[in-house]
Amino acid sequence: MATLSAIMKTTAARLSALYLVLFTACAVVLVIYVSSLSTRMLVGQTQEAIAEEVAGLARAYQRAGLTGLVRLVEIRARQPGANLYLIADPSGFILSGNVESIQPGVLDAAGWTESPFLYRRFGEQGATSRESGHAAVAQVIRLPNQMILLVGRDLSEPEQFGRVMRRALAVALGMMGLGAFLIWYFVGRRALRRIDSVTEASRQIMGGDLSRRLPVTGAGDEFDRLSENLNAMLDRIAGLNEGLKQVSANIAHDLKTPLTRLRNRAEAALNNTAGPTAAKEALEQTIAESDQLIRTFNAILMISRLEAGYSAESTAKIDLALIVSDVVELYEPLAEEQGVTLKAEAAENVQIDGNRELIGQALSNVIDNAIKYSAGFGQKPVVSVSLRKEGDAARLTVRDNGPGIPEEDRERATERFVRLEASRSQPGSGLGLSLAKAVMTFHGGKLELSGEGGGLAVAMIFPTGKNE
């Protein structure tokens, strides 16, 4: 039976087999202990009763001599459920009592019989064979005139008790075995079925059906928890995969477009008949175009590397305020040239764990964008940079009073290659904000876009840790 052997291999089955063995062993030990204890107790009681009887008979003997003793024995022997009584002459010939025959040798030694012996009472049928006799214990006493008195008691009671105990044990064991087997079979089969369905589902997922999920029965058990976690993992993988697809589509688009332009320009230069000046100009444009391509390509590479996680050694304790003043100073003349007022308002000494190059680049991208989009927009274009400590975070905000980004587009603005329709006409790789976002993610911070201050406000929020 294939299923049975498969069930045998399940953990549930192995565990229940182990439990069965352990329980059986315990039960056997317990039963043996209880039955031997109770047997011993019953035998002890029997002996006590016999000793009492013997004392009674001894008193009768002292009072009325042998005749009195014999009479008393005769009376007692006839009572129903009586003890065993026997009086024999020194040779072992039974004179009186309710015992017809006795196992040879029992009467030879005085005192307690060492082990239960076999006997037969008067009136019992077909009673010569050993098997039909009863077991008993007895005290053998030598009377002063060498006569032998035996007082004993049948052991059928303790023996019966032992038998009952043994039978109970057997039944209990049988029930336990059966129960274990049933539990084993059903639990094991159920577990096996769940596992099989998970295996089947995962096989299909591996086969390429990434939209499939592992079954969740709703029972809330460990299988469900496992399946839910694996499903969450699959969702994440699917998300990453989707992102990758999106990115490669974007890369294809955003690199192919300038590449096509580049090629067309080179071709045009080749066919050019207008003279060496025009050809030179075309070549220069070609180089400028390829520089822009390289720039885009570098940005893509950098974002991917940031997303894959940098090595820890590339960060150090740095002062954000210094970076802010550096970058603002770097952009100040450009802003002035573009007619934009660039203001900075920075708290002093804002220490964070970070990479100066990356943050510098991210900030320069954000400021560059702000200047680019606010220039020529409105009467007095202003870009203001502020750095504040906020609890255990540092908030670096770049605000402009340019056209801003509509709220519904803000989320998309940080995605790779997204250049919102309104900005399609502006130069740039469309990667500035994405790079800034990747840098922020790398630093365990976040990038927030808002409309505060009229135009666009880009907030770079860095964790400062607990040392502040």
Binding site: R295, N298, Y310, S314, E357, L358, D368, G428, G432
Partner: protein, 224 residues
């Protein structure tokens, strides 16, 4: 100037050799790390241009080996790896400059020429002079034709770097690296605006230009 190019891409290497020759330099080419190391040990070169990933012996190991043997010839590393960490490991291995592929030849040429000059360091000079322009590094003053010119601290450093390499082309990325100490690509013409502002200060009122723009390459301080 005698240059050793260790580069396994034959086409790139022969292009470099030819371009250096046009710029008035002679260049030898080695196609792998071992051959390059042997040539570098034997020949008398002014600058090494070493590709980072080479067959038979890695570029960084070649530089480390040369430095271990006491060779202090300036080395420029060419690499497709351009991240912050890569640059740091490259310079730590004994490289003097790091240029990420793809690069403009004008950038490479400017850097190589600056590297060669670096060997005869001008660190000890306290006053740089170019024509009637004079920069005093100790008192932080700039004069032209005896007339003092007031500069912002950054403008001073910009001019200091340009004058230190007077007569040599200095590219925009070199300026960003050496004056601002940032290695990223500034996307827009931020550096140009700084330079033109500086130019305004040192040329306004004087009839001779001194800070020249070298088309397609960068800037140069030169007293004609």
């Amino acid at each position: 100037m005698k240059i050793l190019i260790i580069e396994d891409d034959r086409e790139a290497a022969s292009y470099l050799k030819k371009a250096f020759a046009e710029a008035g330099h002679t260049a030898d080419v080695a196609a792998d790390g071992e051959a390059g190391f042997a040539l570098a040990e034997g020949g008398n070169y002014d600058v090494f241009v070493i590709d980072r990933m080479l067959p038979r012996r890695d570029g960084l190991s070649v530089i480390a080996g040369l430095r271990a043997n006491g060779n202090t010839t300036p080395a420029l590393i060419l690499s497709a790896l351009g991240e912050v960490d890569d640059r740091v490991t490259g310079l730590r291995a004994g490289g003097d400059d790091y240029l990420t592929k793809p690069y403009a030849f004008s950038e490479l040429l400017a850097r190589v020429e600056v590297l060669k000059r670096r060997a005869g360091a001008r660190d000890v000079e306290t006053v740089y002079r170019a024509g009637d322009l004079e920069l005093d590094r100790l008192s932080h003053t700039v004069r032209r034709g005896g007339q003092e010119i007031t500069l912002q601290p950054r403008e001073f450093r910009l001019l200091e770097y340009l004058m230190r390499h007077a007569g040599q082309v200095v590219t925009r990325t070199m300026l960003l690296e050496n004056v601002w100490d940032y290695h990223f690509d500034p996307q827009t013409n931020v550096i140009d605006v700084h330079v033109s502002r500086l130019r305004g200060k040192i040329e306004r009122g004087f009839d001779r230009p001194i800070l020249h723009t070298v088309r397609g390459a960068g800037y140069m301080i030169r007293a004609d």
